[in-house]
């Protein structure tokens, strides 16, 4: 069953002759637990689509339905609540708060979204086990490597047990080996938690290891292909790569 639907999504910047159609009528239907990549050249509209999906940006027109909720009708406050409960983010630049340690960074969404803090703390411990950083949860971001910081960001994206994790070039600032391991980690967490992952990337290695690749050009979907065979190979690779130790 589809848990995310994009209906004729449009985002236009500017007006008249100067109007830029960043997203120009995207239609997508994404099922629960899918691991999808959105690819395309710079200016193809992939990041804008992701920002709209993350409710960070209001589309000019069209609908985004997540778990049956038409998000276009939500107020700014409700959108913030929705983000904290349903959506996790992984950014290119890790975006950890330097004043918080790894554990507090992971627990950050709880500060704004509420919820059972004791249960969240337990879940955070489990997530640190999952990402292989149980012994480093009290370290500050500056004491962690790029790969470790991104693993903490992945744990933060999952702390509220969201329906959807959005990744914006999550392997963009790490070396190839670390990138491989981060991809393996995200794949494994996707399988174990059943959370839908939508990743915007230039990284062909990453996109080739997703279940489905959506290619955008000039704000429109030009191809939308399942990659089952490759995905199966990736699963085998993932299993071989465990336990995860990302440097």
């Amino acid at each position: 069953m589809a848990n995310i639907e994009l209906h004729d999504l449009k985002k236009i910047y500017g007006k008249g002759d100067r109007a830029v159609h960043a997203v120009d009528g995207v239609n997508l239907s994404i099922d629960n637990g899918e691991f999808i990549s959105i690819v395309g050249r710079s200016g193809s509209g992939k990041t804008t689509t992701l920002d709209c999906l993350g409710l960070l940006l209001r589309p000019t027109s069209g609908k985004i339905i997540i778990d049956g909720v038409d998000t276009s009708t939500l107020s700014n406050g409700k959108r913030a609540e929705f983000r904290s409960r349903k959506i996790g983010f992984i950014f290119q630049g890790f975006n950890l708060l330097p004043s918080l340690n790894a554990l507090d960074n992971v627990l950050l969404p709880l500060r704004y979204g509420g919820g059972d803090k004791k249960a969240a703390r337990k879940r955070a411990n489990e997530l640190f086990e999952e990402i292989g950083m149980a012994d480093r949860m009290h370290h500050r971001p500056t004491q962690l490597s790029g790969g470790e910081q991104q693993r903490v960001a992945i744990a933060r994206a999952l702390i509220n047990q969201p329906s959807l994790v959005l990744g914006d070039e999550p392997t963009g600032e790490v070396d190839t080996e670390t990138s491989q391991k981060l991809i393996a980690l995200m794949r494994r967490l996707n399988r174990e938690t059943g959370v839908t992952f939508i990743i915007v990337t230039h990284d062909l290695d990453l996109s080739s290891r997703t279940d489905r690749m959506v290619r955008l050009k000039d704000g429109r979907v030009v191809s939308d292909e399942p990659q089952l065979a490759k995905s199966e190979i990736t699963v085998a690779e993932d299993e071989a790569a465990e336990p995860v130790a990302v440097g």
Partner: protein, 395 residues
Amino acid sequence: MEILRNLWRRKLRNFLTISGIAIGIMAFSTMGAMAEKNNKLIDGGVKYFSDHVTVGDSTSGQFGGGLIPTDKIAKVAAIDGVAAAFPSAGAPAKAENSGFFGPGDQIIGDQPGSEKYSTFKLTAKTGRIDHLQNGEVALGSDIAKELGKKVGDTLYLPVAPKVARADFVNHKFTVVGVMEKTLTAPDSFAVLSLHDAQRALGDSLPPAVRSQVDSSKLVSGIDVYGKPGVNLDNLAKKINAQVPGVKAQSPTELVNAFKQFSLIFSAITLGAALLALIVGGLSVVNTMLMSVTERYREIGLKKAVGAKTRHIIREFLSESVVIGLIGGSIGLALGWIITTSINAGTASQNLELFLLTPTLAIGALLFSVVLGGLAGVIPAFSAARLDPVTALRSQ
């Protein structure tokens, strides 16, 4: 804790900002303490002068002074509406009187019976302070402390200067009582019998004049109490009209003069301190605005993970309030150290310049917190208004 860590991340800048607030609050508490002390003195003066008419000689200033022959006392007392008229005789208690703040140490003549009329009550801490005989002295708390005298000690008044002139005269007295602290003028009084105070008044005159006058026939003023229901301002006018050679001062005019002085003094001191605080407040605004600019990505991230406008406003406001609180606490501590040190340093001259009351201390601290909060309003709102996408993608 996160707030303190955020402040620690920009140590130098926040140190400078906190210093700005600290200096402002230090100035506020120090100047405020000076104004408080002054107001306390003024209050005492208001209380002291408002219940009677002060009569000086016709050339005297607003607060009396000059010399009046004693025969004027009976003339004043005979005026309709006068309940009692008491001679007052005063002279400096120390040949080297600072007189910088307040009247300084004064010899004052006892006025037996005036306690029945006066609303300004003095009480003895040790010994007795009324019905003084010749050769006896009752001391105010400050002058007793300054001279290190207690009941039973002997004391020469006026206190001789280090290098006394050949014509300097003083006399031996026995301390019979020390007064409770009033925080106003009587704390610096050495009260003698009227006869002894008149002699001290005579001794304070230039030698050429001194030999020409009989000090027992002179006083420096007359304190006149009215009968119940008598308007003291009208009584002063009546005295001026009926007794030549004296000048009766209307209590209302006197009190207004005190209050005006108090108001001007408070306005000058607190105005200077407020100016320092405004500068401190503006530096908080500047620091917080810079902090917002530097933390665009952090704000964007917080919004992405669910922070609402009110969360961002609360976080930035808390930070500026903490800056205000830390700056205020340091400033108050510095103010306390300064006022206490200066008071201790000037105690030997019986000069207490500052009175840092709990009300002032709490007020200064609250003010620093409010100032921090207000200074954080614009930065906090500008942070909360940031578009999360722009903030996240900023460098």
